[in-house]
Amino acid sequence: MNETLCDLRGVDKSFGENRVLKQLSLSLPAGSVTVLMGANGAGKSTLVKILSGVHARDGGSITLMGREFAPASPSEAIRAGVVTVHQNINDGVIPDLDVASNLLIDRLAEPGYGFFLKRRQNYAEAERIASQMGLALNVRQPVAELGVADRQLIAIARAMAHDPRLLILDEPTSSLSASEAERLFLLIERLSAKGVAVLYISHRMSDIRRIATRIVSMRDGEISGLFEGDTLDYEGAVNAMLGQRMSDAVISIPAPGKRVLEISGLQLIEGARPFDFNLAENEVVAVTGLLGSGKSAFAQSLFGLDQPVSGRIRIDGQDYRVRTPQAAIARGVFMSAKDRANNAVVADFDITRNMTLPFLSRYAKLSFVSRAKERRTANDMIEALSIVCQGESDSIGTLSGGNQQKVMLARWLAEECRLLLLDEPFQGVDIRARRDIGRKIRETAKNRGTLVFVSELDEALEVADRIIVMSEHSVAAEFRNENVDLNEILTAVTGAVPPAGAARTAHA
């Protein structure tokens, strides 16, 4: 193997009480493409932000080309040769400026540039960079007029202009077409042949198969697997990333009740394969799949946030087609959204007010809210879900992540429903709270159908009677959670049979 270019030893990082990176050690050899895999919240983004100078590490050491590396700012990291292309394209380009300014923006920020813009020089330089990259763009065109793919390529081209020693690409192909992605891959190969170390973050198996020379799996802030050599063990890598420390929670599958949800020929996005799916009362089904496999699109189309392209959904035998969450709730379909900080928690409210938000009218007479009545519900729920707090009027912000999540769950368990959708209910939740939540979901499942959308396999195994695996916005496989063969699930998750010619769909 080549010499080590960047070496991380025992790197630690915490946000508040949340330890995001735990004694992480990793070395990145020159001339290699290291693919980093990890589920949401595994700590990938934090690792990238530490390397790119956005966050400072709490402990441990990083050396770059043998020298200590501790960038205080992104521009310092860039000057040291660590260049990052971030996942969110809009972080990478400034739409109101032209292509040339975007390509040279870091250079304008450098202290030695001078006060006035050197327009002609800039355009010439920008054209040089663009042609090196094979970008056929008018450098005077405003970026706002360009599509997503071009914007992404500009962000990457700008990174290249710095002669990076370590190039970090965070999901760079998520908005590229097949030919554009291929152009990027060729470029990556050229760079790694020149001795650049590439850290490539992706969930897309086809990309990983195409480009990886090493795979590193991350889980809970630690490296959970390192795969290198002539033949890479892709399934082993996914396994290490999702982790299935066999849970001791044994699921006894109850007899399903009468059918609640009936889906036939549902096509989530243009070009996806239509699928059928049924769900009965007293049944808990986990929906799993990699990021971008269509889990969220499925959940959102059931809750009226997205409109499926075609297909038929029926609830209790009645046609179901809703356009707003209100309409969905009126039909007895509740959804606890993922990413609670952005989508669920009302930070200004206490526990009680957060819990009673969706069904406030049940606590109100002539619109006047009865505090006593809602407090009673809140106290019942605090007890039922063993929420750790001092009282029902604690501000939601004083609770730990797991307890906040319990409050969000209580919000929807307070009323009877027909279909409960739980999108990532275990996100950012410690193991004990996770057990509590899983148990509560199963305990209350009797009179409704329950769909739990999770990206981690052991969460699915812990909570579900059945597991369906999604891939390319369709159902790839279905398993009964009984002596289930993990390898089969993993095969389905990684889509081990890549479609012929590796047809790429935008936003796959």
Binding site: N18, A341, N343, Y363, G428
Partner: protein, 358 residues
Amino acid sequence: MSMNLDNTETSPAAAPAGAHSRRRASGPIDLAIRYGFLALLVGLVVFFSVFANGFAGPRSAVFIFQSVAITGILALGVTCTLVVGGFDLSIGSVATSSMMLAAYMMVVLEQSAFVAIIACLAMGALIGLINGLLIVKTKVPDLLATLGMMFLLVGLQRIPTEGRSIATGMTLPDGSTAEGSFSPLFLQLGRHRFDFMLDNLLPAPVVFLVVIGLLVWVFLELTRHGRLMYAIGSNERAASLTGTNVNRYKIVAYMISGVLASIGGMLLAARLGRGDIASGTNLLLDAVAAALIGFAVLGAAKPNAFGTSMGALFVGILLQGLTMMNAPYYTQDFIKGLVLVIALVFTFSLSARKSGGH
């Protein structure tokens, strides 16, 4: 409405925010945040009572209330838009438009007080509706939409009379003379004084302020609509995902703001007895200042009806006291600005430290 929940990978920093400040400690900073502003208010009253001759007494107190009545009513309207995370810059011009409309209805069109009042309220509601629709449907940012509305109304209210104030006997654009006059009943709205402990003590606008303040407080604090509006202001996406009709509540907030501003305008017209194009210029800034100062009251750190009323009162007391101590008039705006800045520091810096935010 289609929302994408997918592109927001949880930043680890977001989850545990504030997790390390377990429980409100009742330390000195906490006490300062909660009661600092009210203590300051009491201190101010004591200070002026001692040093300003004639400050302490029912007549002076009523004068203060009267001076803040119209501003306070407008500020309560702004508070409603602040609650849903919006802002209404058009209230000042809605109030002056309402004043001009009331005058025009009675003086030029010779309508009854009742018709004038209905017309003004309808105008306020309509402008609020348009503001709300601009913000909700056409996605114009709230500050810009209401700023545009403000300019539009400042111009519009002068068109019918070609820029002249409206009073009985004025010459109309077509050369005729306005024969109508303000109905005495209408004038009473701004001028009547109720007997309260002393004869002729309590002016009608003060009663309006107290009643409206109570209504807004009840609406925001005790009803489910108020609760949902606060939820929208704190996390719009979460509110929408729990089935709240976010757009409707936002529009309602702007309509409340418009209607309250039109009431303020009518009281102004009734007090002046004419449609005066030069008055009401300070209404917007004073009302906004009162609502923002209200954030600091009781450490609420959010818009609230009680705080807004206290904020309005605070400014009123300060100005009245300074006037009675012969401070020159031009220092008033300076003092108001200073109070506002201090209140905002109270709200944002100290309470952010309290919640352990980053």
